[in-house]
């Protein structure tokens, strides 16, 4: 099957329409007058932003879109020419470069300047500097929500109180001021109720990968499944509908015993079940994915699909405790957890999803993810006896995706799994 014949299921069409509508809204603010908040995916307060009739623009998502459209390389070069170091995060440089070149949205129209930079500071140091850099460019109000890191592997009442106080005393008053809309907590409760419904369905979908064969790929497919809930749609009817459709499709795939959908159709043979740690590469996303499905490798669980919320560990947004629930959500995002917690989670995934091993895609841009991953791999190998492998790429900088190197590493890794299986079989 050629890539031109990609099968589009109803959920895919629905998500495409949601994203297109959101970009249309963002690029037509002069007409409808709604205010725009730029913010980040982890610790995303979409339900709260919607209470003020504001639109949510996510620079990380713009960078991903530009990465997939092969535009990010030029944007990064533009930012580096302007004095930004080659050593720092390429999401930031792709964003700054995009701004210098007209800030065009995927629909070809210019994005508006944000009315507010909502610095939801969760799990990533770079976020703080990123929005200081944007503030200098846009000269617009900036409000920080500092989410403490789970250094001791737990959340405390002090952390929760701190976040709630910031919401009450800084974030909400600023949103009111910028939007001119008074905060209505009941509206927030309604949004959170819808979030929880969508979250239930997302978890159900992700956990279907425990089946053999799995009907989904929880990394390459997973990044599409998390799209609405991690971005501008959590708490909307559209998101509820998207996850309802998605769940029905996966139920049907399971009923028919089908494997995951890939850009080249259904994946037939599932030889290797992997857990993946780290974000994907976006500039060569399709090529990267193909290296897996061509070899019969399917991802059954991934940590990247938890950066915008750890719903599979039981968290749900709670309309009865709205602000506390937002605090707990922010505190729980994957990169806000300490390394021992992350190792525990990976071990759990390896065991519960009966994976053959752990693959780490280490991202040059992202120290939050990457610093410590080699130790994580050793720990997982020690605890589970399953082999680990390590590849290095970047988020949206095409200079750091070496297809031949990645393919070589993956092929060696699959051979290693085969050898391990043979050794186990002969020992038995």
């Amino acid at each position: 099957m050629s890539t031109q014949d990609v099968i589009k299921e109803a959920s895919m069409l629905k998500q495409k329409e949601m994203i297109a509508n959101n970009y249309d809204l963002l690029t037509s603010t002069r007409g409808h007058g709604r205010k725009v908040a730029s913010t980040f995916v982890p610790g995303n307060l979409n339900e709260l932003i919607m209470c003020f009739d504001m639109l949510n623009n996510l620079p990380e998502i713009n960078a991903i879109q530009n990465g997939m459209k092969k535009l990010s390389g030029g944007y990064i070069t533009e930012a580096e020419k302007g004095g930004h170091s080659e050593d720092v995060c390429t999401y930031v440089k792709a964003d700054l470069g995009m701004m210098k070149r007209g800030n065009l949205a995927p629909n070809g129209k210019p994005l508006p300047d944000p009315d507010l930079l909502l610095l939801s500071y969760t799990g990533c140091f770079t976020f703080m500097k990123w929005f200081e850099l944007l503030r200098a460019e846009y000269n617009c109000p900036t409000v920080m929500l500092h989410v403490p890191y789970q250094g001791d592997g737990k959340t405390t009442q002090n952390m929760r109180d701190y976040i709630v106080k910031q919401l009450k005393e800084d974030v909400i008053p600023t949103l009111e001021k910028v939007s001119g809309v008074k905060f209505d907590i009941d509206r927030l409760r309604e949004n959170l109720r819808r979030s929880a419904k969508a979250e239930d369905d997302l978890v159900w979908v992700l956990e279907t990968a425990k089946n053999k064969p799995t009907p989904i790929d929880a990394y390459f497919g997973g990044v599409y499944y998390i799209g609405p809930i991690f971005t501008a749609f959590r708490g909307t009817d559209d998101a509820v509908e998207y996850y309802r459709l998605l769940r029905a499709e996966i139920e049907e795939r399971m009923r028919q015993g089908l494997g995951p959908l890939t850009p080249e159709g259904e994946m037939k043979e599932q030889k290797y079940r992997l857990v993946v740690e780290g974000p994907p590469n976006w500039t060569s996303f399709r090529d990267f994915w193909k290296m897996f499905y061509d070899e019969g490798a399917v991802v059954v669980a991934s940590t990247y699909t938890k950066v915008g919320g750890m719903y599979d560990l039981g968290f749900r947004h709670d309309p009865d405790h709205p602000l506390e629930s937002l605090a707990d959500y922010c505190l729980g995002c994957y990169t806000n957890r300490n390394l021992p917690q992350r190792v525990d989670l990976l071990e759990k995934y390896i065991n519960e999803y009966e994976a053959d091993g752990l693959l780490i895609n280490s991202i040059k841009s992202c120290n939050s993810f990457s610093a410590g991953q080699l130790l994580m791999m050793r720990e997982i190998e020690k605890r589970t006896g399953k082999p680990g492998a390590f590849i290095e790429t970047d988020l949206v900088d095409p200079r750091y995706f070496s297809a031949a190197n990645v393919k070589n590493r993956l092929e060696s890794y699959f051979q290693m799994i085969d050898q391990k299986r043979r050794a186990l079989a002969s020992a038995a």
Partner: protein, 393 residues
Amino acid sequence: MPATPNSTAAIVQRCQDLFDDLDFTAARAWKDAAPGRKVVGYMPVYVPRELIHAANMLPLGILGGGENMEVIHGDAYYQSYICRIPRSTLELGITGKLDFADGMLFPFVCDVIRNLSGMWKLLFPKVYTRFFDTPQNYKDEVGGNYYIEELRELREGLEELGGARITDEALRASIEVYNENRRLVREVYAFRAATPWKAPSSEVYLLMRAGNVLPVEEHTQLMKDYLAAVKAEDRPMRDNCRVVLNGAFCEQPPLNLIKSIEMAGCYIVDDDFMLVNRWLLDDVPADGDPLANLASAFLHRSAETSAKFQPDEGEKGKYLIQSVREKGAEGVIFAAPSFCDPALLERPMLQAKLKAHGIPYISFKYAENSGQMQPIREQAGTFADSIKLWSAA
């Protein structure tokens, strides 16, 4: 002629010996001098050392392994695109050079140091290890209350480690001890800014580094002795330009880099090396609630650096411009460790502010084990020459 004990040469030699000693012999000797003593390590940028001191423990500043440490194990834990300080710090841990440290604190500075706290927990489970978070919200009733509770948790952790209570009285006494230390640090910095030819940065740097490994009282005395010695000494003034160095607040440059900048014709009149020594800008009140006082000092009177959020765009970079003006500097040298997110993300913002004020600057990167100083010397020398020519015009 041998140096007398309180001569500049002797003091600087002592500091150099402490700097070179990767086995931390002085800190080990302090620990062995009495039974039950504990040592708590900490990394940049800031921890409230008063709490460790009040627990009768020795705060031990860890700034990586420096240029003389061969990193073998540490490299196996990090990808090539991550800075050097976590590798050499792990090397210190894995090779047993920190086996006498009963605790390790990893302050908020960046994601690499943050994640290192988790690695330490995994690799050294018997060590009391804590990621020490500091607020990015500077309102007393919001960030202040959060921080007081963080300080309380740290105090409880240290009490458990030491098996004894840390009283408010002890904490107030420690605040006074550190106030005196900070006063001397400020005095040394002011003296250097006024007469940099008398207190070269390579010496001041070593003097400040000594504060990482010595008991605070000893360090304070050492600074007094140094000031007395250099004031009495006749040292020639050179035709150097005056610069502020910025960006070296975590991974430290090799000592040779500091010497190279000076040899190239630049007097460093302010810097951000080892900010922990000067983090709190004034005396912390030694009466009243000590935790509240430490919190208030952090929120309202602490140093600015890129590891902190600046909520007001109008204030961004003001501290650097003020430093240039107050210290009579003619330019800024941005020296940042390779792959340092805080310093390198901050740099363009600071450069824009300097540009707007007509303050010249240059930039380069280093690693703690950088060996080639010729390019740095040439760059700094050209910068010094251009400042002199420009000023003359």
